[in-house]
């Protein structure tokens, strides 16, 4: 049994079902990310684990103990909010010391611990400032310090970096990762940013529409997703529909408009409708050394843009409604719009799944 156990949790807000039976098991000391698009229920799940919401049914267990109805102040979990929730009427020192004072620690101990966390997060010298006098990055660190200083059993983070600019976000992401390794604190990290989840987490739960689609390590989920939604959600991808014309042991041959392609097969049989997810990266117009690991897409270039690190191409395949997004290496020639093109796509970037109606519909509408 896991350190934190979420068992079949259901939560409804009025008419909307926010969580439809979620179960998870989180190990001690791991950094566990909950990843999903906005509105998928990830924040609700975090708030239930924190005790701010009580589920309509299901249980939350900490180390085998049922805490479902325990209020947030009795759980030993500490939450770091998206907007950091620093108290504007207290100094940095008072903000950080708040939790320690609640625990009625002696003054010297409080002082020692606050100093420790200030050093840990590089906030020395800011003690007397008010939150309004700090930069965004500093505020974020104070929020983290305030949570870490009480040495919580679990640290819950709700998109803590999303209010920062891109550069700062990258830096703090690295720091957070280092810190977690150093302190060995169990963290649950909610985000909609797949890159953030993959770079930080030991394991990721991908959520959609109130359910957990898939749980796994970042590599597992990215390179061999077992669910259509995971495949589509991670990376730059295109989802198109085709028909399975043949299956070999791990692969399937799929009729895609007027062409046939190969893809890794996730449970399709001959004659099935396939939802094919194509990852944009790794594509090339040059003949590869081992053509057996590739499949070939043939079509007309409808969009071609030089991005810098790659060339973004949209390929219109005859008989297919939707264009496929592909990234060519930037040292290749930028293909002119309207030209015929033959692109080699690595087989590991082609995944075919049974066409789940809801996901397919959503994906096609978005395009």
């Amino acid at each position: 049994m896991g350190f934190i156990q979420v068992e079949d949790v259901v939560k409804r807000f009025g008419r909307t079902l926010a969580l439809r039976g979620v179960s998870l098991s989180i190990e001690k000391g791991e950094l566990f990310a909950i990843l999903g698009p906005s509105g998928c229920g990830k924040t609700t799940l975090l708030r239930i684990i924190a005790g701010f919401e009580v589920p309509d049914s299901g249980r939350i267990m900490f180390e085998g103990r049922d805490v479902t109805e325990l209020p947030p102040d009795k759980r030993g979990t500490v939450m770091v909010f998206q907007n950091w929730a620093l108290w504007p009427h207290m100094t940095v020192y008072e903000n950080i010391a708040f939790g320690l004072r609640l625990r009625k620690l002696p003054r010297e101990e409080i002082d020692r611990r606050v100093k420790w966390v200030l050093d840990l997060l590089g906030l020395r010298g800011m003690e007397k400032r008010y939150p309004g006098q700090l930069s965004g990055g500093q505020q974020q660190r104070v929020a983290l310090a305030r949570a870490l200083v009480v040495q919580p059993r679990v640290l819950l983070l709700d998109e803590p970096l999303s209010n920062l600019d891109a550069k700062l976000r990258l830096r703090l992401r690295g720091e957070l990762r280092k810190l977690q390794r150093k302190l060995g604190i169990t963290m649950i990290y909610v985000t909609h940013d797949q890159e953030e989840a993959m770079s930080l987490a030991d394991r990721i739960a991908v959520m959609r529409n109130g359910v957990v689609e898939e749980v796994g390590s970042p590599e597992q989920l990215y390179s061999n997703p077992s669910k259509l939604f995971t495949a589509m959600f991670l990376g730059r991808t295109t989802l198109v529909l085709g028909k399975v014309v043949d299956t070999e042991d791990r692969t399937a041959v799929i009729q895609l408009g007027e062409i046939q392609v190969k893809a890794i097969n996730h449970g399709l049989g001959k004659g099935d409708t396939a939802a094919l997810v194509v990852k944009a990266e790794g594509a090339t117009t040059r003949q590869p050394h081992s053509p057996g690991d590739y499949t070939v897409l043939r079509g007309t270039v409808s969009v071609s843009m030089y991005i810098g690190s790659f060339i973004e191409v949209r390929l219109a395949i005859p008989g297919l409604e939707k264009d496929i997004l592909l990234d060519l290496p930037s040292d290749e020639k930028e293909p002119p719009i309207g030209s015929e093109l033959e692109v080699y796509v690595p087989l590991r970037n082609m995944h075919a799944y049974p066409a789940e109606e809801e996901i397919v519909k959503e994906a096609l509408e978005q395009a």
């Binding site: 259901v10 409804r12 079902l17 439809r20 039976g21 924190a50 005790g51 701010f52 009580v54 309509d56 049914s57 109805e69 325990l70 209020p71 947030p72 102040d73 009795k74 759980r75 979990t77 500490v78 939450m79 909010f81 998206q82 907007n83 929730a85 108290w87 504007p88 009427h89 708040f98 939790g99 609640l102 625990r103 929020a143 305030r146 949570a147 009480v150 819950l156 109130g210 359910v211």
Partner: protein, 629 residues
């Protein structure tokens, strides 16, 4: 997938609440204590009117032309013109539909005219920039100062028929122009219902003005700028874009004006027009409640019903959330466009006289407070060395001194409860997600919509039955009943202010403290109170001035132990009843007119109001919405 959860039976309410009550008892107390208090101290007494009113003879009541008259005699004296050899007398009397008809139809007419005046003035001042705009807006605020009875008295000397051969102040001033022009004097006077309506329109239109202006302040500039950008101008811009956005503000203000007109005692009393429900209820208490109780109960019930009908339609605009949105204002409110030539003409020829006329009563109160008397067209000012004689007279009159002490004592007692209950209510509505929170939201603002006279009568009936010879016996301890009425009636101002401050404070600030291990009581002490105290204080200041200037309950329940004149050493009356009592005295006696002393009392009240509103709006950083009724 959705089915999986519906299959699970939802546990019973009690079962779901119990664990929460065990772990977060504070939020339960914060929500359910005010809910119970308001229900027991307000709703239950209000309901006792119903059995009392059931005893009335409605057939007799409605067929009695004194109470209800709908025929040609109702309007045949609407305007009376007397042509005399050297003067023309035009007297506007209005209609007489009987006590019930008068109250309701008068309130409807006052509301419609006030709505037109108030909203168009708000559009002028809120949308356009022009020379003199500040003067307009200052003048428009003046009638909001409450100077009960005295303001109506000034309307009377300025507009009502006068015994003086020169007529009232209005005619006196106009005849400087007309007499040389016509060769005759023109005497224009408003009397009876028309006089009451005029006084009420001048008194109440700013409520609609200010509500509309607040709604306008919540309209984002981009909406108007986009319309301007697409070529909308002038009336089209106002009608198609701006007006629809501020309709909620106009409706909210209009409903309150309708209720205030229904329950207004001041204008009918001063114009001595007894054929209105409010006057009848007032008279009932004047006769030490010896009159026909069943009829008064029936009239109160009619008042309550009439006040409730418009409320049903605009309920959501009276909700705290709507108020909070107004109070917050738009991120970038519209800055105004320049007024054209035609606009200037309308502003200065139509609106300026209106705002000046509406500010006249309050300015007149100050003048009267510095006068020996004002019964003819012009006031008779006190000599300069003795200008404050009326104020000295107040201090040296033991009955009036007692009235001031009474008011301050009641205020002191009431405000403690308003602070505690008001904070609990405002916080609970903002934060509690428990059954009953929605109900409290409605109940908390309801006292604003129930006519004060109805509250007074219901308390009288309720407490003379259930607290006979007790703590709340209205004859023995009218002061206790008054304090309770003040708490209930004026708490909504504090609740609103607290609610607005709390929801403007991110809930995460509280949750962060909770997740660090603080119980809610501690979160409130360490996080909530330090962040919202200014909202609480602003609300309490407002509640205070509305308690000091409260009329309906003060002049009814407050009269049960006599007043400063009848009973100077033992009366339980507050300031507003002292003023009312003075106005029942004959207006001309030797020396200084007693009404001038009342004006001095009212002037003190107004000065307090100005100071308090200035402090409160600074605290809440949003003046207009704050004093939105």
């Amino acid at each position: 997938m959705a089915k999986a959860s519906t299959a699970r039976a939802k546990p019973s309410l009690l079962k779901r609440l119990y664990p929460k009550a065990k772990t977060d008892l504070e939020i339960f107390l914060l929500l359910y204590i005010p809910l119970i208090v308001i229900t027991v101290a307000f709703i239950v007494p209000l309901l006792t009117i119903i059995p009392e009113a059931a005893k009335a003879d409605y057939k007799g009541l409605l067929s009695n032309v004194y109470y209800l008259e709908l025929d040609k005699y109702s309007v045949n004296r609407f305007v009376v013109v007397n042509k005399l050899p050297n003067e023309i007398r035009v007297t506007i009397n209005g209609f007489d539909f009987g006590v019930i008809g008068n109250s309701i139809i008068n309130a409807a007419i006052v509301t419609i005219i006030a709505a037109i005046l108030g909203s168009s003035l708000a559009l002028l001042i809120g949308i356009y920039r022009f020379r003199g705009r500040r003067v307009f807006s200052v003048l428009a605020y003046i009638p909001l100062l409450i100077a009960p009875f005295v303001n109506a008295y000034v309307v009377k000397v300025v507009f009502a028929p006068s015994l003086s051969p020169q007529g009232n102040t209005l005619s006196y001033l106009l005849n400087h122009l007309f007499e040389p022009l016509l060769g005759k004097k023109l005497i224009i006077a408003f009397d009876k219902q028309a006089g009451v309506a005029l006084a009420q329109i001048l008194m109440f239109y700013p409520i609609i003005y200010i509500n509309t202006l607040a709604a306008l302040g919540a309209v984002d500039a981009t909406l108007v700028e986009q319309a301007l950008n697409l070529g909308a101008r002038g009336l089209k811009l106002l009608r198609r874009i701006v007006l629809p956005l501020v309709v909620p503000g106009i409706l909210a203000g209009s409903t309150l004006v309708f209720i205030l007109s229904l329950e207004d005692v001041g204008a009918p009393l001063v114009f001595n027009y007894d054929k209105m429900i409010s006057y009848q209820v007032y008279q009932f208490f004047q006769s030490a409640a010896a009159g026909d109780r069943a009829t008064i109960a029936a009239l109160s019930l009619i008042l309550l019903t009439a006040a409730a009908i418009p409320l049903v339609f605009i309920r959501r605009y009276l909700s705290l959330r709507y108020y909070a949105r107004l109070a917050r204002g738009a991120p970038r409110p519209f800055q105004g466009i320049r007024l054209g030539k035609a606009g200037y003409l309308v502003a200065y020829l139509v609106f300026l006289p209106i705002v000046v006329a509406a500010a006249t009563p309050q300015i007149g109160v100050i003048i009267l407070s510095l006068s020996k008397r004002w019964v003819g067209p012009l006031p008779d000012l006190l000599p300069a060395h003795n200008l404050l004689a009326n104020f000295h007279a107040i201090v040296s009159d033991p009955g009036l001194r007692r009235a001031i002490t009474n008011s301050l004592t009641y205020l002191g007692e009431a405000i403690i409860f308003v602070a505690i209950l008001g904070f609990m209510t405002g916080y609970a509505i903002a934060r509690a997600r428990l059954p009953g929170a929605g109900l409290l939201d409605i109940l908390a603002s309801l006292p604003l919509a129930v006519p004060g006279l109805v509250v007074a009568f219901s308390y009288f009936v309720f407490f003379s039955k259930y607290s006979l010879y007790g703590f709340f016996d209205p004859f023995l301890n009218p002061g206790h009943v008054l304090v309770l009425a003040y708490i209930i009636r004026k708490m909504p101002f504090t609740v609103r202010s607290v609610f607005t401050s709390v929801i403007q404070t991110p809930e995460e600030l509280e949750e962060a403290a909770r997740s660090l291990g603080a119980r809610r009581a501690r979160v409130i002490r360490r996080i909530v109170l330090p962040l919202v105290w200014y909202g609480i204080v602003a609300g309490l200041l407002l509640s205070s001035i509305y308690i000091l200037s409260e009329v309906s309950v003060s002049v009814t329940i407050g009269a049960l132990k006599g007043g400063p004149i009848a009973n100077p050493s033992t009366h339980a009356a507050p300031i507003t009843y002292a003023i009312a009592e003075i106005f029942t005295l004959p207006s001309v006696t030797g020396g200084t007119q007693p009404q001038a002393r009342a004006a001095a009392l009212a002037a003190l009240l107004m000065i307090t109001e100005i100071a308090v509103i200035a402090i409160a709006s600074r605290l809440a950083r949003r003046g207009q919405a704050l004093i939105t009724l």
